[in-house]
Amino acid sequence: MSDTPSATAELKLPKDIAAEKGLVNVQIDGSWYQFPKGTRMIEACRQVKVDVPYYCYHPKLTVPGNCRMCLVQMGMPPRPAPGQEPSRDESGYEPIGWMPRPAISCANTVAENMGIRTTGELVEKCREGVMEFLLINHPLDCPICDQAGECRLQEQSVGYGRGVSRFVDMKVKKPKNVDIGPRIRLDDERCIMCSRCIRFMDEVASDPVLGFTQRGTHTTLSVHPGRLLDSNYSLNTADICPVGALTSNDFRFQMRVWFLKETPSIDVNCGTGTNIIVHTRGNTIHRITPRQNNAVNSTWMPDSHRLNFHYIDSDSRLTEPLTLSNGKHTSITWQTAYQHAADQLRKFMPAQIAIIGSARMTNEELILLKTLRQTLSVPHLSLVPRLADPDQLLIAADRNPNTTGAQLILDTTDPYASLGTIRSAIQNNQIKALLVFGEDLITDAGFTHGELSNLDFLLQTHLLANPTANHAHLVLPGAAFAEKRGSMVNLSGRLQRLNRAVEPPLNAKDDWEIIRDLISAISGDTAKIFLIEDVFKHISATIPAFANLTLSKIGHQGTVIAETAYKIPLLENERARIASGVING
């Protein structure tokens, strides 16, 4: 051993260098990489972009290792005889003794000087064999199967299968088109027994209603007798089912997946701000699926939120600005509508006017609402609270998606505080003009018809025909969450983006544009903002929490801009499971 430091460093073995960082050296398909101890082989391969096909493995679920699709060839250095120094190559790695039998890469973790081969005759033959077994009894329903186009079995059959079947006997018949729950349809012939759905219902949804019955080729997925797969998280099983065994009733036969365009956005049904993908064809939304965000919703989503989009395409959508004359609503142009609003509002003292907004509005809409309030010098501005029971997983008690954003933008701890004041002021005739944005006061805020008919001027922007609109002198049609861009802040302080997946119908307009045009009609100031990016710039210039941000800098995974005490229960469960080593995460 030399005593010069550089020479010592040179002599340091790769295993010691890695060990200092808590890593191990692994050879994957001939190249050496370093991974943290305890990494699963399949994850190691994925991290260095080496493709290993799999079915049953899911990073958020326990690993049963039952599909055998992830087989790879594994090798370790041979154990030296007692007293013998292991031999090393010039880079300091020990030679790898390859095992003659394959190993599953999902359940095994990496070790120092391990070798993994994901190609080669052994591995390819294994995959061909697994594929052939899986397809022996598979019905090949692809032309009518909703999974076609995003089916792992299809993909891996093309990628790793042998191409032709050697099986000549009758296929095993199993129940098809089984009704196992209100939102999920089961086709047992298509099931490849990966058990992902069973594990999900047990481990994540804590409602273990699924299980296998029978044995061998007759193994059948079924729901516990007397029970239904009716958890509010049941549709996640359709997402993780690698084949078309579990499919969504709502999406059933609606559209083939290869026609769908995917737009990343966020869910607006509660304060969690679940990340979603909106699937559209043309101007129609066909389904919504969760999008992975480990700091928000992991990879899951409640059914009730996922399915709450059909109103966007419904007949009750408002599509034209309407004015009330002689007790009837007639449609007018936007220009007339703005002018009408401005003329009416001039008739009132600022103290006679109030604004009620919504915490379903984006930050951009809220900042413009703030400007509108300043333009009119209105003393009262409130949002409408929306509270319901939380589900201890993803659904928060606060069903408004942007309460935190409203707190930041309106610079108040309770943006709902003055709703009661406004209401009593309407009752005793102090407030005569009311501007309502995106809320139905009668249904959602408990206002009465009598109170609303007390008003001399009521303006409402909304998506759908609603009881409040019946009293409104001016009804302006707004855009649904999938029709607009903008940003919201979820309960844990994460700023996230909405993206436009479809266009608003007919003459309906993006809400921020409505407020912008109202402001300029009232103030007579025609200097317009044309881009939502510019509204956001205004936010980042005036609200400290948003400083130095732009809409594009937010990114698809969001950016934390505020500290809150809120913890998403599902993530807490997941973290505990990662810490105890049951899952990878």
């Binding site: 090949l140 692809c142 032309p143 009518i144 076609a148 098809k176 088109n177 059933r252 036969f253 609606q254 559209m255 083939r256 290869w258 026609f259």
Partner: protein, 188 residues
């Protein structure tokens, strides 16, 4: 580029006055006229001619019985030997169709239907014959052998809407076709 020089043929005096060739031409035309009047034009039979010469009096006479087996006319849907509509609305033809002529609205087959086990069929199936280019891709891609290019070629209409073949019309044109795919019928 290479240049090729052509030498003009030397014409003799007779050829220089082209009158001779003109007369020759008149006689040739006259002889054709006579053959045609006698109904003896070459290929007259093969071309289904009526009246004089090789002219086919379309639309009184048509090509129909002269169409080769491989002729590709209007695409149409077919039913199988048991009267089951073969199409399961997989929408592959809609996807592959180069001019986007096909529009399908899929639907579930009600559980009391005779073919409930097929689960899926088209609620509406429209082919816009103004768009269709008779390429035959739909026939080629169909996994259920449900769509074929038939021999209908005279697709006319007075409005654009007339030119859209709906499901009823498509089955009318298509008729029955006995094929190989028998995954869904009672034979299987």
């Amino acid at each position: 580029m290479s240049t090729i020089k052509l030498t003009r043929p030397k014409l003799d005096a007779g050829e220089k006055i082209y009158f001779g060739a003109l007369i020759k031409g008149f006689f040739l035309t006259l002889s054709h006229a006579v053959t045609s009047l006698r109904g003896k034009s070459i290929g007259a039979k093969g071309l289904n001619s009526t009246g004089l010469g090789v002219t086919m009096q379309y639309p009184e006479t048509k090509w129909d019985d002269h169409m080769p087996e491989y002729y590709r006319g209007a695409p149409a849907l077919v039913t199988d030997e048991q009267g089951r509509e073969r199409c399961v609305s997989c929408q592959l033809c809609e996807f592959i169709c180069p001019p986007k002529a096909i529009k399908i609205i899929p639907a579930e087959i009600p559980s009391d239907d005779r073919w409930a086990k097929v689960e899926k069929r088209p609620l509406a199936f429209d082919i816009d014959m103004i768009r269709c280019i008779y390429c035959g891709m739909c026939e080629e891609v169909c996994p259920e052998q449900a769509i074929y290019l038939r021999k209908d070629y005279a697709i006319t209409g007075l409005t654009r809407a007339d030119m859209v073949h709906d499901k009823k019309k498509l089955y009318e044109i298509g008729g029955v076709r006995i094929g190989l795919v028998n995954k869904w019928n009672e034979l299987k």
